[in-house]
Symmetry: C2
């Protein structure tokens, strides 16, 4: 599967502030770019931490992009994917509403009652891994359901796991012209972190000014 | 005083990895840029955490730049400044050797024996603040000693305190094409962090490719 990570950070690498509140990092031009990117893929993925913090719908917002998807024979909306080892996604979360198909990737240890609450006409609970979601197996399971490309929007814990497993092909980061600060604020790539010589090597493919910030596009050299 | 912060981070905003080991983020071209920047200022400043982790000398490396400084009537080397509330700089640290003048900014609570060990022909201990260094007072004390402009190289705790106090005029960040990751790894701006609406606003002045990364230059809108 082709995996593109897309995220917006402050100039000091933060996805949000220490209190996990959503920060308006990018502007209207970047919003359109992200909507276009969502419209171009089979699935949009986030970690459960992002669902709990921001309650995103992950849907394509522009009607013309939805119509273009239908015109080329795709579903109106890309599928949503939540990496959610313990099935903590609230049943009332926007990401599991009926506006698009949703796959919740859970570990086999995830409580059965919470899985049952999530299952529905448009939501499938997909098991991959035992204690934590095995992301490689999860992406394989999605691929067998017709997902050939996936855009991942965060957060930092999921991104670390994906990079650590060598599953990411491209990274685009919008760097907003602001500083958030905080040793405990979520960053683009959190998790345990890498140490020498296991840092992830990137190749800078494109640099462009967007809104009042800059968009950096990288290929990931796995 | 005119204060410029210059630092190198990974694409995920990290100054180093979780084990605090120094990470080679930039390359030869950026090294020359930083050496030139050091040669252009009256003082180069770091926090004591950076001294303890990296033992930097903070000196200008290129002989021709040293000669240029002397030719215009400056000291051969810019002064070094350590923000060091409790006087933890080791007396054997490179930053307090005799290759340049050094000011160690300490709080009045800092132990007298450690201050005494640091004092020397080229090292002055400057008191500013009681429990922690009062950076505004510290910069004023430096200004009265002839320091009109200062370049700050980190780390993230000092940078947070400087931005929090509104003391920074410019920020240049070299963003290396790599991911370091780690929720506990040092970032460009650590400390307690800012929350809405107190984020630091930046104005992106220049974007340029340097080595295999990108250099972002900002004005700070205090």
């Amino acid at each position: 599967m082709h995996v593109v990570v897309n995220a917006a950070t402050s100039a000091d690498g933060k996805l949000s502030s220490r209190d996990r509140s959503q920060v308006a990092i990018s502007g209207a031009e970047d919003f359109e770019r992200v909507d276009e990117l969502r419209a171009s893929v089979d699935a949009v993925m986030v970690g459960v931490g992002t669902v709990l913090a921001d309650d995103p719908s992950l849907t394509v917002k522009a009607d013309d992009r939805v119509l273009e998807r239908e015109a080329r024979g795709d579903s109106p909306q890309p599928a949503r994917v939540v990496a959610d080892s313990r099935a903590r996604t609230p049943p009332e979360a926007a990401v599991v509403d009926d506006s698009a198909r949703t796959y919740v990737l859970v570990a086999s240890d995830a409580p059965g009652d919470r899985r049952a609450q999530l299952r529905g006409d448009t939501t499938e609970v997909v098991e991959a891994g035992s204690e934590r979601v095995d992301l490689a197996a999860g992406l394989d399971a999605l691929e067998s359901r017709g997902v050939a490309d996936c855009m991942v929007e965060g957060g930092g814990e999921l991104l670390f796991s994906l990079f650590d497993a060598g599953l990411v092909d491209e990274l685009t980061v919008y760097v907003g012209s602001m500083l958030v600060g905080g040793r405990d604020a979520p960053t683009l790539v959190d998790g345990d972190g890498f140490t020498e010589p296991d840092f992830v090597d990137l190749a800078l493919e494109d640099v462009s000014r967007v809104d009042d910030g800059v968009l950096l596009a990288y290929d990931v050299e796995n």
